[in-house]
Amino acid sequence: MGRCENLTILSDPANLAKVRTAVETSGKRAGFDKKNCDAMALAVDEALTNVIRHAYGGAPDKKIEISIEELNEASNCQGLMICIRDFGKTVDASQIKGRELTDVRPGGLGVHIMHEVMDEVIYERPPGGGTCLRMTKYHHRGEKKKN
């Protein structure tokens, strides 16, 4: 298991910036280039926005736990896994989908962005209620890792 950073924030949108920074920093340490670090920060931001809006109905005082873990295999970093745990309203994962991009209207882009950026997006129902969203991005073959 590689390095793991854990954060707990309240569901106030003012806290999104510090999580983005933590993802960018972890991504850089895991060997991702700036473009990918920025993209992962965006995906996490979108996931947290969905938690704030839908799991917590916009309430700014609810707990969200985030873990950012380097995936190591034989001392080689394979990628980054980010878990976002909320304790709010659960949604049937099969109903979570992005809208058609040709339907130009405000809203509905977050899920599309998450799937576009990350290699895996998995929703789980942990004991204790709420949702755990696990997003993973791997270093791809042929993509040079930044040292």
Partner: protein, 119 residues
């Protein structure tokens, strides 16, 4: 520009009234925290029926889908009033979200304010 025209979160740095256009200088991260203030300001400006609204994104370092949604809403509102919305000086990180969302062809996007005003 009057101090009353500036929003509390300072996401709008300045509003400049030009000949046939209103230029809005936006700054900082436009995310769920700050996009509501931008939304309010743009809605208020659009109610004034500008011929065009030119948004300067030079100082916008980050935008998420709530920011994009704000701009889509503003675009649709101003188009209903026969006006135009133009964006310019997008940083690569901001441009990339428009590309991910396939919106780079929906908006008028320019490299500078001069280019936008000449178009």
């Amino acid at each position: 520009m009057s101090p009353a025209e500036l929003d509390g979160s300072q996401v709008v740095k300045e509003i400049r009234r030009l000949d046939q256009a209103v230029a809005v200088d936006i700054r900082g991260d436009v995310d769920l925290h700050r996009s509501p203030a931008l939304r309010e300001t743009l809605a208020r400006l659009i109610e004034e029926n500008p011929v065009r609204l030119v948004l300067n994104l030079t100082e916008v370092g980050y935008m998420d889908s709530s920011g994009v949604a704000t701009l889509v809403e503003a675009l649709q509102r101003i188009q209903r009033k026969k006006g135009r919305l133009q964006l310019h000086s997008l940083r690569p990180r901001v441009r990339s979200i428009f590309e991910i969302a396939r919106l780079e062809t929906i908006f008028e996007i320019y490299a500078s304010e001069d280019e936008a005003l000449k178009a």
